[in-house]
């Protein structure tokens, strides 16, 4: 492949062009010129003009192009709160943003890091490097050092009374600037270091003080007034401490209406939009926030959430609710999905719609509960005993968590089967400022509505599992006279009565397979971006960095397509083969050791022999640059 040095900067220039309209043309020109000499490194990098001698930032991020920063601190230091406030603030300033977090295993008192990247265009991954790292303190930061990609143009902000910046970070060559964060905080009654830091960081980035303040008021809304006012005072002090705004104001005069939402919340919203009114679940990291978001909201919508005694119970509770006609969903993570697998098989055999959202984490076994990995694909696709066709889907981003879960609910209902949705920690526990996810056109005039086929007044010859061309048969709900049947995990005949006869087994197996394979899933089976004979094929949270990598390549003159599969099973084999029609390089990108998607696609005989895999385990986030490197190595 062509050398990437210096090529993708045109892409960067494009982002600059989309910057706030009040940015002077001259500054844009200067930034564009400076880009030309720079190596491919993403849209937020090393692009700007040094004006701030006080901070010693020789390469300050071009703020119109956005920036990437991280805030780290010991448990209780408020690093994550600071990240949330800055996220809200950049959203108010008119930026798109993505905020991720990483935490140790401690329940309370553990160190944590909040990572924030913002830009004037949608942000779908964390990029390759940090412009700024803020250390509220440096306790145990070594545990995160490999998650904090610094280089010689990054800036580390530290407290002037803190221990020296740890060697593991300092050896990146990043510049260090110290500020009297602690002294300033102590000068305020009940002052907090993290709030001082928010003010300072905001000033550095050119965020309007008003945006910082209103961000704080929103994030701290459930605290008492005194705490809120103290925090706001600290933010002002921090902002003033480095002489107020150190950059032209970022953002738009009237920011468009955007949402601040996490992947877990978006998945919950998708469930509600899809009609789910019953959730049974057992708490598990990193899925619990989805359940916590759903519980009070289900109640308002006339539904309910039942905290079950375990995942064996929760999946069977869903089946009970759905049998009664109320669409049901649960959220869990790998260990919980393992326990649910038998129940999912029951849903498949009894043709009872249920949806399981698996917010994946590092595995196997208890694995790495707080960090992300895409290693449950094999379990989701192959875990069920017997021939048990079911649906496996994966959202391609935070906003898409809403779409994909809603779609999954509709498909499960329509097809009277189980759907597993593979989200993960990196999607679920990250927040983004994004355009409101449209209520998808799942209901389209040319399609059946995504509801199940119900017989309201079954005739005397009604049979629950009567084979049909579509494989679908209408369901009766308890309460309907004349429709009584016993749903069963035992193989059964058309009337539901248990049968071990070969003819019934073949007929019902075919019915359950046909209803999935004969269905028209439309164009939503994948998200496809770009054109070109170079192809990056991926799924789930890897889609973000893959999309960015493909965009950079395309901008560098090498047209590249990215395909993120949304419907993993049943694989839309013919549609995918059509997409793969070209003979260019194909790289299958995913975050697991076993190349699970790559192997699955090979098993389905869709990949040509020259297709290559780039698969590595979590918990480190996939970054666009490593995908580009992997593609380069393959070439």
């Amino acid at each position: 492949m062509p050398a990437v040095t210096g090529v993708a900067t045109e892409a960067d220039a494009r982002y600059l062009d989309r910057g706030p309209s009040h940015r002077p043309r001259r500054a844009r020109e200067a930034a564009r010129k400076s880009l030309r000499s720079l190596r491919l490194c993403g849209f937020n990098c090393r692009t700007a003009i040094c004006t701030d001698w006080r901070l010693g930032m020789c390469h300050r991020p071009s703020l119109t192009g956005g920036a990437a920063l991280a805030i780290t601190g010991a448990g209780g230091s408020g690093a994550v709160t600071a990240g949330l406030i800055l996220l809200a603030a950049v959203g108010r300033a008119g930026h798109y943003a993505l905020m991720g977090r990483s935490a140790g295993p401690q329940i309370r008192g553990g160190e944590s890091v909040a990572m924030l990247r913002f830009a004037p265009r949608p942000v779908e991954c964390m990029g390759d490097r940090l412009d700024l790292l803020v250390g509220l303190d440096w306790e145990n930061v070594g545990r995160f050092s490999d998650e904090l990609p610094l280089d010689e143009t990054s800036l580390i902000l530290t407290d002037d009374q803190a221990v020296p910046v740890p060697e593991i970070l300092a050896r990146s060559g990043a510049r260090v600037r110290s500020l009297p964060l602690k002294v300033l905080a102590e000068a305020q009654p009940d002052g907090r270091v993290n709030m001082i830091a928010i003010g300072a960081v905001g000033a550095l980035l050119g965020l309007p003080l008003a945006a910082l303040e209103s961000g704080a008021r929103v994030i701290l809304a459930d605290k008492d007034d005194r705490i809120i006012e103290t925090s706001v005072a600290c933010i002002r002090v921090g902002h003033a401490s480095i002489g107020g705004s150190q950059a032209p104001p970022v953002g738009m005069p009237t920011p468009p209406a955007r949402w601040n939402i996490s992947g877990n919340e978006a998945a919950g919203l998708g469930a509600l939009r899809g009609g789910v009114r019953f959730v049974a679940a057992y708490p598990i990291t990193p899925a619990s926030e989805m359940l916590e978001w759903l519980a009070p909201r289900l109640e308002r919508l006339g539904g309910s959430l039942l905290q079950a005694e375990d995942e064996l119970a929760s999946i069977n509770m869903l089946i009970g609710s759905s049998f009664g006609g109320v669409p049901a969903l649960t959220a869990t993570s790998g260990p919980g999905l393992s326990l649910m697998v038998e129940g999912i098989g029951l849903a498949v055999a009894s043709e009872t719609p249920v949806v399981v959202v698996d917010v994946q984490r590092g595995g196997p076994s208890t694995g790495i509960p707080t960090k992300s990995e895409q290693s449950d694909l094999n379990l989701a696709v192959y875990g069920l005993h017997g021939d048990a066709p079911h649906l496996v889907l994966a959202p391609t981003g935070i906003a898409d968590c809403a779409f994909t879960v809603q779609w999954a609910v509709g498909l499960a209902e329509q097809l009277q089967t189980a759907a597993i949705v593979l989200s993960d920690q990196a999607l679920g526990q990250s927040r983004a400022i994004l355009d409101p996810p449209a209520d998808p056109a799942v209901v389209r005039s040319d399609r059946q509505p995504p509801t199940r086929m119900i017989a309201d007044s079954p005739g005397p010859d009604y049979q629950r599992y009567r084979p049909s061309d579509s494989g679908l048969s209408s369901m009766t709900l308890p309460g309907v006279p004349g429709g009584m049947y016993t749903a069963d995990g035992l193989e059964h005949g058309a009337n539901g009565v248990p049968s071990s006869r070969a003819v019934d087994h073949a007929e019902q197996l075919d019915k359950r397979l046909r209803k999935l394979t004969a269905f028209d899933y439309g164009g939503e089976w994948a998200e496809i971006r770009g054109k070109g004979d170079c192809l990056l094929l991926t799924w789930g949270s890897s889609a973000g960095p893959v999309f960015e990598a493909a965009e950079r390549l395309s901008a560098s003159g090498r047209p590249t397509r990215a395909i993120a599969l949304r419907l993993i099973a049943p694989l839309q084999r013919q549609a995918l083969l059509t997409e793969l029609g070209s003979v260019g390089p194909i790289l299958v990108v995913e975050q697991n050791q076993g190349a699970q998607l790559f192997c699955y696609l090979h098993a389905q005989r869709v990949l040509p022999p020259h297709a290559r895999s780039y698969a590595r385990p979590g918990p480190l986030l996939l970054r666009p640059a490593e995908i580009l490197r992997a593609l380069e190595e393959e070439a």
């Binding site: 869903l318 089946i319 009970g320 609710s321 109320v326 309460g479 004349g482 429709g483 016993t486």
Partner: protein
Amino acid sequence: MDAASVIPTLRAKDYKSDVVPVWCPGCGHFGVLSAVTKALAYLKLPKERVALISGIGCSARLPAYVGAYGFHGVHGRALPLAAGLKAARPDLTVLVAGGDGDGFSIGGNHFLHACRRNMDMAYIVMDNEVYGMTKGQASPTTRPDWAKSKLTPHGTGIRPFQPAAIALAAGASFIARGYSGDPGGLTRLISEAIEHPGFGFLHVLSPCRTFRPEQSDWKHQVHRSDKGPTDDPAEAAHSIQADDGMTLGLLYARRLPVWQPDNRATATTADLEGAFVV
């Protein structure tokens, strides 16, 4: 003429389906099936408003033999499935049927939590102290010295599970014991378990003619309680512990809060979305 008088009264046999039971001749479960249909007829419950839920085992075949709605699920998970159904459809009469293995071994955890959750349903456990469907292994209620199973040739050596005592400790609000050979008494207890507001646990001694032929002697061992039910858990604990396990009747009943979500909507999805706006 009121509405009730035009609904034809169903007799017990009208509640039976036309599916032929897989049970062995002489199985105690025939008596339970008969009593279930008699109780449904006695309570005049429309067939379509009744759901029978079960897991796996000989006894778990019961729903298919009743002409109501039914769900024959996986081993040990009948109670959660029933809980999901009742949460979603409080209008239905939910009965759960199963055996000692399904309910006290593989499903033991669900039994504890169903007792304390106290949802409005009846749970009928047909206890024959053996796994019949898998051809005669020891169950949680089998005596420790029962050595007829090849799987435990010296007996289990483990003291049996005490269903009534454990139900009480787990917070059950209704505990009764019946015998499949006592059709009248069993019908009455099933009716009471259904009518009890909350989780009605009915432990039914139901002999296995094939693997535990000695249980035919149960007809001489069972006896009625010489006192009425108590609502005092301490008193019930004493009497249940002191009992020989063959006492029939309602042992304990107490009004306790019933868990049932309120299914009235006060908002729409669109109402919730405003909270996301930056």
